[in-house]
Structures are given as C-alpha cells and as structure tokens.
Symmetry: D2
C-alpha cells in the first residue's frame, strides 16, 4: 500500500513554473499541459519517498494512466504562479490514484483533478505492488 | 443548440496519425497527447458545419475546457492507426459537451473520453450561444 | 548511401495540418513544433522507401539528431495550410542530413531548415549503415 | 543595445528540470524540447533585468525567432540534471541573438545552440528597440 499510515494526508506540494510554450492562442495555459504538471508532482512524491522513477522503469515497473478527470475552475496565464498539490489515494492490488489541486498566487483553487494508475510490467500487464517495491519504500506502511 | 436535430448522432470521425514525438519512454503515446487529438476532432467537426475555429476566435468567441475525463483501455504505440470519433452532446446555455471514442486498427476501443466547454467572450466570461453563431450554423437546430 | 541514384532529388512532400495546440500566445505556431513536422516527413520518407521507423527502432537502429538549423521567414497561423518538403542529403559513414522547406497556401516559402542525424545502436554509439539496412532499402543505391 | 556594457558576458544560468513527458521512445530528451528550455532562460534573463515578458507582450512587443541552430553533443536522459547558460549577443536594429550552452551533472557540454530574434509589433513588423524598452531596462547600456 502506497499510503503512509502515519501520515494519512501524504500531500506533496510543489511550485511549478508555467512555461511560455504552454500558453495557447487564447492567452491561457493549454489544457493538455496540466497533465504534465501532475506527472511532475507524482514523480517528485515518489522521489520524496526515496524512489527514483527512472530506476523504477529501468527495473521494469511502469505506472501508466488508466483513467483521469479534471475540473478547470479558472484559466491560468503566463506569469501566474501556481502551487500543485498531489495526494496518493486508494491503493489496491495494482492500482493507485492521485488527487491534485492547483492554487494560484491569489490562493484561488484553479484546478482539481485525479488520475488512476496501474502498476504494470514490461508487457503492460498489471502486477501487484511487489515486495521489491515495498523494500525500497521503507517509510510506507505494509499491505 | 449545437446538435443537429435531423442527425441526433452527429458523430465526426477522423483518422489521426500518431506522431513519433507523442511516444514516451514507456514506448506508448504519452497520455497528455490525446487531448490534442480530441481538439483536432472538435475543430474539424465545427469546420464540417461551416464554422472556422480561427474566425470564431477572431470574432471573440472561445471554447475553453471546463471539465474532462478519460479512460485509457489499451496503450497506443507508434505505428498504430487510430480512428477518433467525436460527438457533441447536451448543449445548454453557454455549455457544450463532446464525447470521444478512439479505436485502433484492430477495431479495439482503446480510449473513451468526454470534455465540457463553455462559450466565453474576450474576458473569459460565459456567454450564451449567440444568434451570430446560429447564423453561421445554418444546418443546426435553433435554440 | 541513402540517396536514390536514379532520383537525385528524392524529395518527399507532405501536407501537414497545423494543430491548434501548436499556436502560442503570439497567435503564431510556436517555433518548437516545426521540428515535429520535420520528423513526420523523415519517417514518411522512410516509409515511402519501405522502411518502418518502428521496426527500425525495434531492431536497435536509431537516428537521433546531432545538429539542426532553421530559418523562419514568415510566421504561420492557425488555419494556414502548409506543404513540407523533405530531402535526404550527403549520407556518409553513419551520418545523414535532411533539408526541409515549408510553403504556405500562397506558395510563400515560410521556413527552410536542415537536420543531421547519426545512425546509432542501442547504446547510442554511431554505427555505419549496415547491410541489413541496405537489404530493406532495395531502391536505394549501394554504398 | 541589450548588452550591459559593464558586464560584457551577461550570462544567465539556470537549472532546468527535465520532465518525464520530454523523453521519447529512444529514452532520451526529444530534440524539440530544448527550444522550450532556451525560451525559459531568455524570459528569465529578461526578468533578471526587470522586464516581465508578459508585460512586454501586453504592450505589443514580441520577440519571435527568425533563425536558430543547435548541436546535440550528448543525449540527455530522465534523471539527468542540467544547467542552461544563456547569453545575449550582437544586438542591432530590431535584432538580438542568444547563445546557449547546456552542461549535465558531470559538467559535460551536452548541447550548444543559438537563436536570432526580431523585435516586432502587433502586426509582426520589425521595429527598433524603442525608448520605452530602454526606460524599463535601466541597467542596460544605451544604443
């Protein structure tokens, strides 16, 4: 289980810099870019728990998305500063969810979202979170 | 209302070529790119009904996303051929939804998704679908 | 050698559809997207000569960029229609160049560019164009 | 002139985090993403000199690319850490160049590049660097 029992709200927060190339013709961040930000926070959350995503993939473990949803409450513009919160949720079998919230510099909630991921092996078949993963995740609670 | 009463299933289908740059380190299409494909189908659906998206924006009408969800059933790889179906749904006030389905060359349903859009003016305030839009949408049913 | 002796100007031309997500805040195609278009033309040029880029990579052959340059003569906007010409040039050892020209719907030359590629193996070490590659490139002249 | 006379080597250095979505099927950073990094450094260099790029565009000044070249000496992988150096060069009339160097965590020079930009107004016509721009660039030497 990927949730730290001692910290039931294991939220990772990171400031992400909006890139000029992420702004579209409407003058707002193009909606497809938010997913890349969420990915950054997931990878940083793993790193915070001592897991290098690159090593994970080198060992043949992958976490592709299987489901996602998002609400865009307010548009983001170039120059806006944002804080992205990421919280792992509901791990079970080979599945793990993440919830996200984005706040801007005025502390407005601009976006909320969630993603579901399957842990899969080299041939994209779901596998249970292995002991190997538990071993490199000492701070996380056992199944 | 943006749905053609005479054609309640106004589905626009287009083949989209997967680009090499859309494939990630896992060897599958990165999940963020699907949204760009859906956008292509929306714009082509509008074009099919005689509406140029560029002209629409030039006139101060924009259709930003306010909500979206997606299910990834099977990964897509470089060389896969895909058909993307796009269907407008549930127009009301300043809101319009689209449902999407992606099938691969084996006719497998690989992805389903939907997006909600608000029609907004230059300052990103929602506005009702105006007569001006109805005028350039002669084939679509009146409000 | 990857140039067809019988066709010294082995130019591959393809129309590419500008995507809305490629337009930036200035209202023009963001400069980084042109490289993705050139990549599409290289891969189509290979396909035209019976080489699947996916198979090439599956067999452990890769063609990363080692050098590139570009001139942007005119900006491109959403709704512009473009023809991208791609021409392989100066193959030698493990190196191959491509020259590109983009014309718009008014037949204006909007961009010219070139890329240099090394043929490399799985560990990104340059390798000479192998017989295996010549074998699947029957229409191309021998070394 | 955009070069600080008192600091002829006005180099802006910034660490940029490689994003997972920037890695391609070869397992290296896709070549198109480097241009987005250079853009980040240019904008940060301007910010360092008190110029907000967003304000610049709001005032009708734009700096599109007109020419660029790049050498990729070594591939970059996910997990590599990079320092991007950006140096403005050869300002004249409405033109400004930037040179870039990217070093990895082993201090290897992995990439060098340069871009040329034209200062243009709302209709993409070149304009000379105006007094208005000089006024908000107090630390930069006069023409």
């Amino acid at each position: 289980m990927l949730i730290n029992k001692d910290n039931p709200n294991d939220i990772y927060s990171t400031e992400i810099e909006i890139r000029y190339c992420e702004i579209d013709q409407m003058g707002i961040v193009h909606h497809s870019n938010y997913w890349n930000w969420f990915e950054i926070t997931r990878i940083k959350w793993l790193a915070q728990h001592g897991i290098s995503y690159q090593e994970l993939e080198n060992k043949g473990y992958f976490l592709p998305l299987i489901e996602a949803n998002i609400h865009y409450f307010k548009p983001l513009r170039f120059g806006d500063r944002i804080l992205v919160d990421s919280e792992p949720k509901r791990p079970r079998l080979s599945l793990i969810n993440f919830d996200y919230k984005i706040h801007n510099q005025h502390n407005d909630l601009v976006t909320s979202a969630s993603t579901s991921h399957a842990l899969v092996g080299a041939h994209h078949r779901p596998i249970r979170f292995p002991k190997f993963l538990s071993d490199i995740l000492p701070k996380l609670a056992p199944n």
